[in-house]
Each structure stands twice: as C-alpha cells, then as structure tokens.
C-alpha cells in the first residue's frame, strides 16, 4: 500500500505525544577564546510552532543552533528539551532525543546516492544488533525494508523521485539542499532545526521549499526552528521571530512586531526596508 502524495504515513502515524517538542534555552552564554559569541540568550519553543531566528551574519545564529544540537558546548546556561536537560550532550545523543537538523553548508555524503543518504538518517530508528546484521537475519531484512519504505515516502513528499539513485555530489545546489532537508526529515525529528535552508536558492526553488515547510508545519504539526536571511520568507511563514545581534537577543515577537522594532531596523533591516 503506497501513500499518495502529501499523505506520508510517517507523519500521519505520529502520535501527538511523539510530536511534543518543548525546547527551553535559559541564560545561555558561549565564548570562543576571548570572543563572546552568545550572551545570556533565553528562548523557548512550543510544540507545533515555527520559530525563526534572524540577525546579521556573525550575530550568533548558527552558534545558537550548534549549542542546541550539541556541536558547541556553552559555558553557561542550560538547554532543556521536553523537560530533559540536554546541555553539553554529544550531537548524536541529542539527535536520539528528537532534534534533527540541516546544515548551512550541506554536509551530505557526496559519493552516496540520495537513498543511501536518507537511509543513514534512519540509523537511530534501526534497532538490530551487529551479530544479526552480519547474518542478515530475516528480522533485519524486514526492518531494512521498512526503513526503505519510509525513505521512499520522504522522497515522494519532497518530489525528488527522479534523482533517488543519483550520487548526491552530482546534483545541483538547490536539489542538494532539498536532499539535506529530506535527510533531516528521515530522522523523524520532534523538533526540526533548519540552518539557512534557502541560502543560494533561486526564487522557484525557494517557493518549493516554502511549500514543503508550510505543509509540514500546518498539516502535520511539525515544530521547527528556522534560521534564515531572506526576510520575505521569514516574515511570511514564521509565527514568531527572534532577532540576534552581536550574540544578544534584541527583539522577539510576531513578524509585525519585529518588523517595526526600531533596534531591529537599525541593526539588521536597514532603512531600505
């Protein structure tokens, strides 16, 4: 039985419990050497929300994401996810707890096919052991097939069927970004963290991704954090925006509020718009 386009069973089957994604960041500070990257950041994410983080380059957006996903270890403050402290955990532990991310510079595996890239992300959902894997026990085979099915659903959802067997390295930039998104979706994350998913895309490609994100968020209740520069995207799809500048939070609120905040205009948006 094949799910038709737009009705991926993995999203539909997710229980409300499994969608719970409450992230709290309290008094977070991060330094590199003497350089202060983040200073006393507080924020929270509610289940089903699409939160955007904006700010000039170098304001600490990616650093903040890296703290949330375990790549950086903040000196002060704490991060909790669904009531559990995740500060300073290794990235793989955080991924296991349900935070999946995409990368700014697309960290895909260029030699592997699209399918192989997505299957890799199913790792945390595989439960067989080494011994059984070496013998390719029937249960292992069943599990592999199940994951393959999930991956195909994601491929359908992102409309990348035609490239499923192509090595990722040979794909154009926009498609690679899409595969990167697909890989994050294959993790079945409770909280999806997107680091500049629109950077370097043409307008059409942007519109496609916006469609996917809006559908994920509105139809399937996917909680998301979006770091992005493109104001027009951010302003039109996010429900709440946090503005960072020089490692500090300078504003927070709905798009309308942020857009008219004098400090934001001064530091980021500029006079022109």
């Amino acid at each position: 039985m094949k799910a038709f386009r737009g009705q991926p069973t993995i999203f539909a089957a997710a229980q409300p419990d499994n969608r719970r994604a409450e992230l709290t960041v309290e008094a977070l500070s991060l330094q590199f050497g003497g350089l202060v990257a983040l200073q006393n950041i507080n924020l929270n994410v509610k289940t089903g929300e699409l939160l955007a983080i904006i700010g000039p380059n170098g304001a600490g957006k990616t650093s903040l994401l890296n703290c949330m996903t375990g790549y950086y270890h903040p000196q002060q403050g704490r991060i909790t996810f669904n009531g559990e402290a995740i500060t300073g955990l290794h990235p793989h532990k955080i991924t296991e707890r349900g935070i999946g991310r995409t990368f700014q510079n697309i960290e895909l595996f260029p030699g592997a096919s699209v399918i192989a890239n997505l299957l890799l992300a199913r790792h945390i959902h595989c439960h067989y052991s080494v011994g059984l894997a070496a013998l390719f026990w029937p249960s292992v085979k069943r599990e592999e097939v199940r994951h393959r099915r999930v991956v195909e659903e994601i491929i359908d959802f992102l409309e990348i069927q035609s490239i499923r067997k192509k090595p990722v390295g040979s794909l154009p930039y926009g498609l690679r970004k899409r595969v990167d998104l697909g890989r994050a979706l294959a993790l079945e994350p409770k909280l999806l963290v997107l680091d500049e998913p629109f950077a370097g895309m043409t307008l059409e490609e942007k519109e496609d991704i916006v469609r996917f994100l809006v559908e994920l968020n509105e139809a399937w209740g996917q909680t998301m954090i979006l770091v992005e520069h493109d104001m027009s995207v951010v302003m039109s799809i996010s429900q709440r925006i946090i503005v960072l500048d020089f490692g500090k939070k300078i504003s927070e609120g709905s798009p309308e509020v942020v857009q008219n905040h004098p400090e934001v205009i001064k530091a980021y948006l500029g006079d022109s718009g």
Binding site: H90, H92, L120, H123, I124, C126, V130, R148
Partner: protein, 356 residues
C-alpha cells in the same frame, strides 16, 4: 515457480527487498553458488600439494584483508598494525590449544575474539584522533605487540615459538592441505558474506558516513567513537580469526613473521584489490600471494642457474621492492584497484558486442 532473472535491461524491481539484495539478479546468485561448489569440489582434487598450499594461504590472507578493508576502506581509519593483530590471533589460538586444550574451532573463534579485544584497545586513541594521528597509534600498536610477542616468554615462548597440535574438527583430522582447504574456503565464504551483510546494514552505512564526514554523521545520531571502536573490533576479529587458522595450518609459529612488513603487505592487498570493496580484498590477496610466490620462484631459479652466484641474492628485498612498486603503480594508474578493473571487464563483456 519464480522465473530466474538474467540481466534486465531496465529497472524491473517491484519490491524493496529486491533493492537491498546482494545480487541484482538471480543469475549472479546462481553463478556464485555454482562457482563456490565447483571450487570446493574440484580444486582439492586437481591441485597438487604446493598449489594447494598457495591457495590456502590466499584464503587466509583474504580473510585478514577483508577485515582491514572494513577498517581502512569503509571506515577510513588507517591501520598499520594489522599484522600484529593477525599475530595476536595466531598466538591466542596456539596458547589456547596447547595450554588450555581448546578444540580447533573454539580456539580459532576465541583467537578472533581476543584479537578483537586487543584491536579495540589500540582503537581507543581514536576517541579524539583524526585519521592521520590514528594511523600512528596503530603503528605504535604494531611495535608494542611485536615486543610483547618476542619478550613475554612465559606466555609466548619468545623467539622459540609454539608448536600446535593437529587440527581436528568433529573428530576428523583436518590438518592436511586438502582438508584444510575446505575449512579455509568455507570460512572465507562465510566471512565474505558476513562482511557484505554488515556493509549493507546500518553499521556499514554508519562506517561510510564516519569516513566521509564525521561531523554530519554525528548529527544523524551516529555515536562516532563507539562505531570506530566497533570497526576496529570487527577488523581485528577478521585478522585474529585468520591468524588462528594460519597458526593451525603452519603448525608452528614464531614472532618473526608478524612485522610491519606484513602489515604493509595487507595494505598493499587492499589498495591493489580496491579500497571499500569486499571482492577487491580477495583479488588483492590473490595478487599479492601469487606475486610473492612468483618472486621467490624467480630468485630461486636465478640462484640455481648460478648467473649471479657472486651476489648474495635473497628474495626479501626484491619482494619488498616489487610490493612497493605495485602499490605505487596502482595508486597512480588505477586508484580503485583490481575490483574496478574487474567491473570494467565484466560490464564490457556483458554489453559485448554493443559496447555503448
């Protein structure tokens, strides 16, 4: 009854099971079974004892090479200590058999297990090390193990070595070339199959991910350190298992052969065979062992004819030179090794006479 599928021109897969199978077609599967049966049923009767000795050596080397390929080719961790782990396996089997009276099958399996443990100990530095530094750690492992084998006389008898009992399986004497052939090649086939299975499971995917981009792999929920250790363990298990077989086959072992030069031979096998290719490891083993034998034959011949009687010609330097040359030439001209050559030959055959 299901129809046997030969070479399909197009994608006719209907189920995901077909897509994750080892062989694309039933044809390939049948071929391998036929080949295996032919090999096991004909070779021991056709080949003479010397040829059988070479073939058995190839089989044992191939098992070790597969292990090294999992570590270097798939996980991207360079190891220069493979011969030491092979030696650990050989000694483990010998000690277990002589001192504890373990039967053949158990001591060979245990040899693999012990080598895996030792390998994992030397893999511990990989917690914080990138591949460059790591390969130096394995170099240290090589020298330290060599030293221990040579100097811990209470356990290893030092330079004098250990003599093993005859290998028996289910009460049958299998120490002869012919019967050992079956043991080795059944083991090789099993080990090959297990390696291929591992590679197509989540473990293999994780290994490759660590090789290509460990940061992103971690973001996909893969605990890097645990997998690097696992890869070390699996690789050393293969080496130790092969070492155990080898100890039983030669019946007496000394610390001498397990030097860094043997480690380099294993590296040569997988480079020449093809990195990240299981059949490649077998091709590499065949190539290197045959090269080895050919070279000693040639030097023997030259010595006998007395052309160069004045010069003390030994086989070792010539062999070393040719190995080095082979590694260098393959890296420059066919970096993907014999496996790639084989693929090209096969596909041109398949498409013949319409080679486009």
């Amino acid at each position: 009854m299901r129809k046997l599928k030969f070479r399909p021109c197009g994608n006719f897969k209907e189920r995901y099971e077909q897509d994750i199978a080892i062989f694309e077609t039933d044809f390939g599967r049948v071929w391998v079974w036929v080949g295996l049966v032919l090999l096991l049923s004909s070779v021991p009767f056709i080949a003479g004892s010397y040829t059988l000795y070479i073939i058995n050596s190839i089989g044992i080397a191939a098992i070790a090479a597969i292990g090294l390929n999992i570590l270097i080719g798939y996980t991207g961790q360079i190891s220069l200590g493979h011969a030491a782990f092979f030696g650990v396996g050989a000694y483990a089997a010998a000690i277990l058999a002589t001192k504890m009276g373990f039967p053949f099958w158990l001591s060979v399996l245990a040899a693999g297990g012990i080598a895996a443990l030792v390998g994992m100990i030397f893999g511990i530095p990989s917690v914080r090390l990138k591949h460059l530094y790591l390969c130096i750690a394995t170099l240290a492992g090589q020298f330290i193990i060599e030293y221990v084998l040579m100097n811990w006389e209470g356990l290893t008898n030092g330079p004098a070595g250990i003599i093993l009992p005859r290998a028996t399986l289910f009460g049958l004497d299998i120490s002869g070339d012919q019967s050992f052939f079956w043991v080795v090649f059944v083991c090789l086939a099993l080990m090959c199959w297990m390696a291929v299975n591992l590679i197509r499971s989540r473990y293999g995917r994780a290994f490759i991910a660590i090789r290509d981009n460990d940061l992103a792999a971690e973001g996909m929920g893969i605990p890097i350190f645990r997998y690097k250790l696992l890869s070390f363990g699996i690789s050393s298990f293969y080496a130790g298992f092969a070492g155990g077989l080898w100890a039983y086959y030669t019946t007496s072992i000394t610390p001498e052969p397990f030097t860094i030069f043997l480690s380099i031979q294993y590296i040569a096998m997988i480079i020449i065979g093809g990195l990240a290719s299981i059949p490649g490891s077998v091709f590499g083993a065949i190539f290197i062992i045959i090269l080895n034998e050919t070279l000693s034959r040639i030097t023997e011949y030259i010595m006998n004819t007395g052309i160069l009687s004045g010069i003390a010609l030994t086989v070792a330097p010539l062999r070393e030179f040719v190995f080095g040359l082979a590694i260098v030439l393959f890296l420059i001209f066919e970096p993907r090794g014999l496996a790639e050559v084989w693929r090209v030959v096969r596909s041109s055959f398949r498409l013949w006479p319409f080679s486009y």
